[in-house]
């Protein structure tokens, strides 16, 4: 199953421990993370479900292409990194 980790910047605001998740797309993977940690949702996504403007998500080292629909594929061996963009600081 994919492994998800978070920028340490997030831990200033809430718990965001790295861990295994479930899903074949970015959306499914993040939803499994949010199910375990509901507060994380509003930090990573806006209310329409898109990635926040200044949040980047990488799957196996590649930035996700579909920031609105989060349809990028995630393999069960992938590392998923949730990072802050350098913009927005």
């Amino acid at each position: 199953m994919p492994h998800v980790s978070f920028t340490s910047h997030l831990t200033r605001h809430l718990d965001a421990e790295p861990g295994d998740a479930e899903g074949a797309t970015v959306r499914e993977t993040l939803e499994s993370v949010f199910a375990a940690n509901p507060r994380l949702r509003s930090y990573i996504c806006d209310e329409q479900g898109a990635l926040r403007k200044h949040v980047n998500v990488f799957v196996a080292g590649r930035p996700v292409a579909d920031r609105e629909g989060l349809t990028d594929a995630v393999a069960h061996t992938d590392e998923v990194h949730v990072m802050q963009a350098l913009s927005g600081g």
């Binding site: 605001h13 809430l14 926040r52 802050q84 600081g89």
Partner: protein
């Protein structure tokens, strides 16, 4: 007389208190995080801080122990955006919360009721002290929203929410840029009321269009709620009949442009402004920070400068950054370049609380 002020700043919530007659910075919460608005609810003492995190978006925190600890509470969020076939007066505006710009308590007879004005133009209300929020659809769905546009931000925003202390169902909101709207039924229906206002920044045929007026801030005198003041983009306007009619106040000096306005809690003829050079420049007139005060309903103004920077100043006072306390004697003002001043004599003289603070977004007695 108030002894505490909350400054919402680019780098946190700064608390200023008075001890032994002197105002000093006492504490900073949310260090490093932009705080766009604060509220101390006079009904139950709860304190609210609206954050706008650079990476992670808007957040709302509440303290029930006078600021010693904070809990994150629900965020006003927009419902799912309709598709191309759905009703949407302004499809160019995203249905995404960008900033909480205003927080106002409901009436004394409705504990737990809060109002939140936001960018991109949604008004929200809570009946449970911020544990949940509802978008006020009757305003958001007005077809006139098609004509609203951003003033200083990319999208329109609600910066002023006034609840009538005589009748908490009567709510007045100010929108940049979208006029002044009044509801008499707690938000179920709305009327735009700008008769007498004009917009110099629009073509002549749309000069008096209600839906494009830019009231930078709207305030009402708590002791005389039908008396309202607006610092508009191109001047000061006043209403003495509950926003039905607005009079242009052209006596203000040294300039008619500004963002902020504060009105005396009981005397509707007394109000304070922070004039500046208008949008193409946005600096203090002659680089001198001043406050303009009228005590006769706008017939004349005193220009107050004792204790304020009179050389090489670039301070602009944003719309939520000039406040008066419930006595009408104590004023606090904060600037874009991180200065905070307090006056204990209705603006006649000012003392500097801090000159190297972060940019200040809101100033509220607490």
């Amino acid at each position: 007389m108030s002894d505490r002020i909350h400054l919402g700043t680019r780098k946190g919530l700064i608390t200023v208190t008075r001890a032994n007659g002197a105002w000093r910075i006492a504490d900073t919460d949310f260090l490093g995080d932009p705080v766009t608005m604060t509220l101390r609810d006079p009904r139950d003492g709860a304190i609210y801080a609206a954050l706008n995190l650079g990476h992670f978006g808007p957040k709302l925190h509440r303290s029930r122990d006078d600021g010693r600890s904070w809990d994150e509470v629900a965020l006003p969020t927009y419902p799912p955006e309709p598709g191309p076939e759905g009703f949407n007066p302004n499809p160019k505006t995203p249905w995404k919360l960008q900033q909480i710009w205003e927080l106002t308590p409901g009436g004394a007879n409705e504990p737990g009721r809060l109002w939140a004005g936001t960018i991109p133009g949604g008004l929200f209300t809570s009946t449970d002290s911020g544990d949940s929020w509802t978008l006020v659809r009757p305003l958001w769905d007005r077809p006139e929203r098609e004509h609203w546009f951003g003033g200083g931000y990319d999208y329109a925003g609600i910066h002023s929410v006034i609840v009538d202390p005589r009748d908490s169902a009567r709510v007045t909101v100010g929108i940049s840029c979208g006029g002044v709207w009044v509801s008499t039924d707690r938000g179920q229906s709305w009327t735009c009321k700008t008769r007498g206002m004009f917009a110099e920044y629009m073509p002549p045929e749309r000069r008096e269009d209600p839906n494009i007026q830019d009231p930078h801030i709207a305030v009402a005198c708590p002791g005389s709620p039908d008396h309202l003041w607006v610092q508009h983009h191109n001047g000061v306007f006043r209403s003495t009949d509950g926003a039905e009619n607005w009079s242009h106040i052209d006596a203000i000096r040294p300039s008619k442009f500004g963002f902020a306005c504060a009105v005396h809690p009981r005397d509707p003829n007394t109000a304070w402004f922070a004039p500046a050079i208008k949008d193409e420049c946005r600096v203090p007139v002659d680089n001198k920070v001043v406050v303009a005060r009228t005590r006769d309903g706008g017939e004349s103004f005193d220009v107050l400068r004792d204790g304020l920077p009179q050389d090489n100043a670039y301070d602009i006072v944003y719309r939520h950054c000039l406040a008066v306390d419930e006595s009408g004697e104590v004023l606090a003002m904060g600037s874009t370049t991180g200065s905070c001043w307090v006056s204990d004599d209705a603006g006649d003289s000012w003392r500097t609380v801090g000159a190297n603070l972060p940019p200040i977004y809101s100033v509220r007695f607490a």
